[in-house]
Symmetry: C2
Subunit: 223 residues, 2 copies
DNA sequence: GTCAACAGGATTGTCTGACATTCTTTCAAT
DNA sequence: ATTGAAAGAATGTCAGACAATCCTGTTGAC
């Protein structure tokens, strides 16, 4: 009898572990935007070889989480407000569509799940833990996206949101943003629960626009 | 001397060349869906080392152009009709938005460029060269996407369209599809030229829906 | 004949080490 | 202070190696 019952069918490779670790590090803001990543340092810190690391870096590059300039190596891209705006606009497009579809097709079980994640965010919103706020909020969206009936919508959305994680952590720290965010999310939830597609779209749109505005404020506030 | 002017020529690395070559090979249907790619074979054919190849493969994996299963290696994913439908739906979302924006912001110079690409497609449509048809049609869209004012919209769209290139080549071969496609594209062009945002959206939506229908037919026709 | 265990080859995952090329920084010379 | 050259650091790329895993065809048992 194996002491560790590992039912995982796909074995986790070094490359996958590395991508996950680095992605998490990037998303949680461990690296300064614009800073360079030195291969030899990362190899030592992660305890892996250069070829494995470089494979992982190529994956992250394709996700647009890092940039790799020939002969200069990988670095954390500095997100301009223009690009951030563009991302928010596409995010709006996708999220509105997802919320609308979700309203007319989510299952009761998943709806309960959505309610639970809203409660989790509510709790986080009362605290000052902005990391918990971002994570629980992300759960909320991901349930909506997972239930919109279009896996591609979900996939693209995840990729985009990852790239603006930088702003999300900061804007959540804004005075009152977490609470107003909670109100907006509750409205989205209520609309979905009521099966009101139109209302879900409207609430969702409102939410993204407010999030964008909050991100802009947090960006302008301190440079 | 304007500091914006970037004279830096980015040297092309082996990895970039490899990604481009493989992407082109995949998009032009050189590999059968579901077929496996053997690293040693590709290395020999491309004349590169395994580490370089593996980096390129990771990039393509992140683009979803290939799949890499641990211990089984890379393969060409077989696109299910479900996923294809999902992609067409998101493509519709993006393309409609892009066409609408394009209508109210494209420059005269770019509009002429768009007209030129439409003519190029017209010529290709008369021929039986389905590859030329797909390429010129792709040019047409890419001009629209490049002028919608949102680089992310463009980026995401490019990634999605690449994944359904399989269908596009086949559906263009369908009896009369190229000609009806031409008519639809001309309508899109006319709407944009007239600066009629609403009409551009409508025409664009129609076009994607018809393309999806054609893809479905070409898929059902022979399996 | 069908099915299961098995051996062997093929293929991938990963590492080490190496070297040329290309930045980047330092330091000296004008 | 500006320029230029040399030293140092980091990347791009390769070759070779080996264990772990997958695939295939054969053998053996029922």
């Amino acid at each position: 009898m194996p002491p560790e019952l590992n039912l995982r069918i796909t074995p986790r490779t070094v490359q996958q572990e590395t991508v996950d670790k680095l992605r998490l590090a990037i998303l949680s803001g461990l690296f300064q935007p614009g800073s360079r990543l030195i291969e030899s340092q990362l190899c030592a810190q992660l305890g892996i070889s250069r070829p494995s690391l470089r494979e992982a870096l190529r994956s992250l590059e394709a996700e647009r989480l890092i940039e790799i300039v020939p002969n200069r190596g990988p670095s954390i891209p500095a997100l301009s407000w223009e690009v951030a705006t563009a991302i928010y606009e596409v995010r709006e497009l996708l999220e509105v569509e997802a919320a609308g579809r979700c309203a007319s097709r989510i299952s009761p079980a998943q709806l309960r799940e959505l309610e639970r994640s809203l409660s989790a965010f509510e709790e986080a919103a009362s605290s000052k833990d902005s990391i918990a706020q971002v994570m629980t909020a992300a759960d909320f969206y991901s349930i909506i996206l997972a239930n919109c009936g279009n896996p591609i919508l979900e996939e693209v959305h995840r990729g985009l949101v990852a790239r603006i994680s930088f702003f999300r952590g900061r804007s959540m720290s804004l005075e009152g943003r977490a609470q107003s965010s909670l109100a907006e999310m509750r409205e989205i939830f209520e609309s979905i629960a009521a099966g009101d597609e139109k209302a879900a779209r409207k609430a969702s749109k409102q939410h993204v626009l407010r999030a964008k505005a909050a991100a802009k404020i947090s960006m302008d506030s301190d440079i």
